[in-house]
Amino acid sequence: MSEKKFMKGNEAIAEAAVRAGCRFFAGYPITPQNEIPEYLSWRLPEVGGSYVQGESEIASINMVYGASAMGTRAMTSSSGPGISLKAEGISYLAAAMLPALIVNISRGGPGLGSIQPAQSDYLQATKALGHGGFHAMVFAPNSAQEAVDLVYQAWDYAERDRNPVLVLMDGCLGNIMEEVELPPMKELSDEDLPEWSLTRRNGRDYQGNITPIYTEPILEGINAMAGEMYKAWEEEDVKVETFLLDDAEYVVVAYGIASRVAKEAIMELRKEGFKVGMIRPITLFPFPKKVIHDLDYTRVKGIIDLEMTIPAQMRDDIALQVMERCPIHEYGRSGGCLLDDEGVYDAIKEIVTGGVDNG
């Protein structure tokens, strides 16, 4: 049964994962995501699952690798520095074609950076989650509710594709409390365990083998299959929200926490007669190329890339679709300094009134 609760974003993710059928979590403490492992440390045993506090992020992602190989819905969570350590294991998950959910509650970077929220891991998430040129589907919710909804679907995508899924959400959304409607518990039985997995609970009676290393022609084939999969994602799986786009002369592109601040500013500016709209990528990979590409550039005078990181990281992805048909401006805060309503309002207003053109 679905139910309404007032929860932190991190806790909402954890509960949604359990309801999606997650029965294994391994992770290592790092701010600002600690509520996820803390919650699952007591919640998973309640539903017959396992929680392990790993000795490192590297060990944790490899525990997930082992659990996932058994067909168990498995996840880990971390923040930027820890995701860097997990990069090895995420690459191996992709190579071995194992589903998993990885959550990055992001903070300021690079390096140890800051424990305060930031959107500094866009490039890592979408371009280089590990070595070897693979991609994971990247979900970027902008509320606890959307995080719940996306996490609830995450393994459906991960198991369909036999590929890890990443949820990228900043430390603000992870730590603010919001009302969420929780979906019902998915009841998965042994018969649901994938036939490729190494469990024998599904009745498999022949040898099982899962490997992240291949002979050359097989690896080339696997690379090609992955390429086809990424193309299919672009056709089928792009999630994007558009806001007041029909008459927009200026289009903000923002995801996650930045999109919420942007929305407030846009509504203020609309009251003053400025035609500003927004495109909000919900999947960062596959990136919503088409909606940006197909804007009416005879009307659109500028794109504003709004991110809580400096320099903006989405800019190249946007630029490939804009194709120099209008200037691309950027505004952001970084290092753990937050975007605020006034700052974003002022920045957008300055751009739409022609004050600044840094495109």
Binding site: F24, A26, G66, A74
Partner: protein
């Protein structure tokens, strides 16, 4: 009088190991024990990186190939979700005692109920014979061309001794595979470890002293003598911990 029948857990073809490689013998011993316990189908081999990865094309039971040094972590995920399975990680000395030191010590310390088979040949065989954490003092490798110097590279790491200091492990033992007695003892040790796991007793660790004729630049028979005069005096065979009873 004795009998020996080759196990169906290994392929009906030669292993990928070099002639005289005791890694192959270690793998064969595991297969023999699984047959004796009737656990072949229930077993799951977590294959690590290095020469042990040659088992990918040799091992006929369920297997999961994992990243360098991470076998105990992956085995943790496996055993926690499928405790009914007989799970063992098969690791070499570079994999286990260098890059994977954190994973092996932590899994042992948690008392994870699986078995680690540790093949110690004192070198990185697959990559061409570089110094391993277990390389003996004075032993020549491609990265210690004048012999291992403890002033700059420290001393060979004694894993059984280290692991047996932990509270949780229930069986920790080392055997040398260069003699019939050593091989028979090793087989009994592997069997004891697997049985302890099946009985749910906790973490078990079996170190097998092996060789590397190719990278030691010796004939297989010469390596057996080298082990007697050099390896065994430093890495002393024996049962370091036994809480299985």
């Amino acid at each position: 009088m004795a009998e020996y029948k080759r196990s169906s857990m290994i392929a009906e073809s030669p292993s990928g190991y070099c002639p005289g490689c005791l890694h192959a013998l270690a793998t064969r011993l595991v297969s023999d024990v699984l047959d004796e316990l009737g656990q072949g189908d229930n077993s799951l081999n977590v294959i690590s990186v290095g020469c042990s990865a040659l088992n990918l094309l040799y091992w006929c039971g369920d297997n999961l190939s994992v990243a360098h040094g991470r076998a105990p972590a992956a085995a943790t995920g496996i055993k926690r979700t499928n405790p009914e399975r007989l799970v063992f990680a098969y690791q070499g000395d570079g994999d286990l005692a260098a890059i994977g030191l954190s994973e092996i010590m932590s899994a042992a310390n948690r008392g994870e109920n699986f078995t680690v088979i540790f093949a110690n040949n004192q070198t990185y065989g697959m990559t061409g014979g570089q110094m391993a954490p277990t390389t003996l003092i004075g032993q020549k490798t491609t990265t210690t061309v004048y012999g291992r110097d403890p002033q700059t590279t420290g001393y060979p790491m004694k894993m059984c001794e280290l692991i047996s200091t932990l509270e949780a492990p229930v069986y920790v033992a080392r055997f040398a595979l260069n003699s019939p007695k050593g091989v028979r003892d090793a087989k009994a040790g592997i069997k004891k470890a697997f049985q302890a796991q099946l009985d749910g007793k906790g973490f078990t660790f079996v170190e097998l002293l092996t060789n590397c004729p190719t990278n030691w630049h010796m004939t297989p028979l010469q390596t057996l003598d080298y082990m007697n005069t050099n390896t065994i005096p430093y890495f002393k065979p024996g049962v370091y911990k036994d809480k299985t009873e």
